[in-house]
């Protein structure tokens, strides 16, 4: 088996294309969890925004309206989650699971009602986002290495891919170099101190949830409008949980979380490449087993790192103002 058989180039490119789903969701999770709210409900928000984006994009034949609608729905769900976690002081884990299951059912029922295709939306066709061709692609196409990097690795992506990668430094800046970020982290680590300093813990956490909802919607929109070109029942397939794991892996820090997302994106890419390929020693690995890889890695990562990782101290604990 030669080097070309591994399709290293296409693995790298599809890593870049797989990662945005996780990056958007993981950055969303970062905001929620650094403010002290556990966000198991990423999965449900991805699913809801994926469906709404696809449905609206198909109906209006405009992907941008789809994305906007997805943002609205995901933000609304995040605020409901915030209401349970912050105002109601309910169990945040249960709330997240409830949202995931509700959305799994609701998206199917509504998709079936509108499109009658077994919980699928029709193919978006022209309503998908167009890929951006970087200037000079034609000129550089034949240059070895640089041409490949410019036209395949950096170029020919949709705007959402660039947004995802640009988001990482932006989130880092917001969390560590703005007043809002400092307050948000304070609410996640020691809400009572934040409260004593005159910060409204509730308002900060609501703000964090709103941002989380908006960011998470791009993950769903990317999944439906860019990657697949349609909505499919339960199409998120655990992406929300993988994003959470990437966050644990990254110690709740943007750059390391980003690396975690790339890692899972890489496994997804390898999975597609390995399917149906004869490998030395092991032979052909069945697709079902390769599908397990990201989940097994998640378990191993959590088992290896959870003890050492530093979660925000007040995570999952409703803030009760002491009198």
């Amino acid at each position: 088996m030669s080097f070309e058989d591994l399709h290293l180039g296409s693995i790298v490119v599809s890593t870049v294309r797989n990662a945005p789903v996780l990056i958007f969701a993981a950055m969303a999770g970062l905001f929620a969890e650094r403010s002290g709210v556990v966000d198991i409900g990423l999965e449900g928000k991805i699913l809801a925004s994926a469906f709404v984006s696809a449905a609206v994009a198909f109906t209006t034949q405009n992907p941008w309206y789809g994305i906007l609608a997805g943002v609205a729905v995901s933000a609304a769900i995040a605020l409901l989650q915030g209401c349970i976690a912050i105002t109601q002081k309910g169990n945040q884990l249960v709330a997240g699971i409830a949202i995931n299951i509700t959305m799994s059912g609701l998206t199917f029922v509504v998709a079936q009602y509108f499109f009658q295709q077994g919980g699928r939306t029709p193919d978006l066709g022209e309503a998908r986002l167009h890929e951006i061709v970087l200037p000079g692609s034609a000129a550089l196409a034949d240059v070895p290495v640089i041409g490949w990097i410019w036209t395949h690795l950096l170029g020919v992506h949709t705007v959402l891919v660039y947004l995802a990668f640009a988001l990482v430094p932006l989130v880092h800046w917001v969390l560590y170099h703005t007043r809002f970020g400092l307050r948000l982290r304070a609410c996640g680590e020691n809400p009572h101190a934040a409260d004593a300093a005159g910060i409204s813990v509730e308002r900060t956490r609501y703000g964090a949830m709103l941002i989380a909802g908006i960011l998470c919607s791009f993950s769903g929109a990317y999944l439906a409008i860019v990657q697949s070109g349609f909505f499919l029942r339960d199409m998120s397939a655990g992406a929300g949980y993988l994003a959470l794991t990437a966050m644990v892996f990254g110690n709740w820090r943007p750059f390391y979380t980003f690396l975690g997302c790339l890692m899972f994106g890489f496994f997804g890419a390898v999975q597609i490449q390995l399917e149906g390929v004869d490998l030395p020693v092991v032979g052909r690995i069945p697709g079902a087993l390769i599908q397990m890889v990201p989940y097994v890695v998640t378990v191993i990562v959590l088992a290896g790192l959870m003890a050492k990782s530093v979660a925000p101290k007040a995570i999952g604990v409703p803030f009760v103002k002491s009198r």
């Binding site: 109601q88 509700t102 959305m103």
Partner: protein, 360 residues
Amino acid sequence: MTTNDMPRWATGIVLPLLNLLSALLVTALVIHLLGEDPVESMQILINSAVVNPEGLAYTLFYASTFVFTGLAVSVAMQAGLFNIGAEGQMYLGGLGITLAMLAFDATLPWYLLIPAGVVGAALFGALWGFIPGYLQAKRGSHIVVTTIMFNFIAASLMNFVIVRFLIPAGEQNTASRVFSAGAELPRLSDWFPILGDTPLNISVFLAIIALAVYGVMVSRSSWGYKLRATGLNKHAAHYAGVKISTTIIVTMLISGALAGLGAVNSIMGSTHYLSLNFVGGAGFIGIAIALMGRQHPVGIFLSALLFGALTQGGFDLSLEKPNIPPEMVILIQGLIILFCGAMEYLYAPVLIKLIKGKQA
């Protein structure tokens, strides 16, 4: 008065009922928005799931499985563990049954074969619960995420095992071969012909026994005391001499075994073979049941009946009302988890005011 010192009838009966009602009201709203009549739908559902004897048999049949998954989630919840993995544990339980049957169904008589299947189900389910339990106890990996991952892993693994090893040569259907007649659990319709050709079988009695054992063990045994102490306050329990990590691991073993036993009803009582995705969400329904039934045996029983009726009635409803697919049950389940679990004290302030008003 705070939510903690509300009377037991208020927190144990009135609040769960109000929450359930809210979930059903939201469902009614969704049905209305889909252009169907919620009242008429409710009538169809009740007719099909309760009034009609065959429907009632199906309701009880589904409920017997749900009792086990509900118990699985409940017992873990008692120890403060949120086991999302009943789905995967039941799936693996099905594999346990199948391996036992494929090995013995030609040789053993029925009175050994059926226990072999039950043991196989419990063993494999327990194994699938053990790993997340061990990782939580020893490595601190969060049980919620690990059990969710184990659901995904179970789905892929079973897909692989069924397709690669269990499909008989020449067959296309993604299922194992049919087991011999000795492995079939006796059906109640053999004694009560009014039940018609329904799969309701003796597992419904197994479910009731399991509920009773659960009730006694959790609230009347020293093990149950340790279990609840761990769930209420891990540090206090540890200080009192309870071995937290052992409790967690044992609880997850039991939880997994109970979920695995859910497969006995589905496979040995009904299909008599292992098929792809036979669990069909019963594990997730267990979460809703545990939260709605407040982990109390009677509550679990009633919630399991409700979900049995919703599954059976929902299926018939989808035949008459094409806009209400059977997946509506998933939505209801999510809403029940939302209202009975996450927002369980939504109505507490109002209720407290009412109680206080009466006393004054």
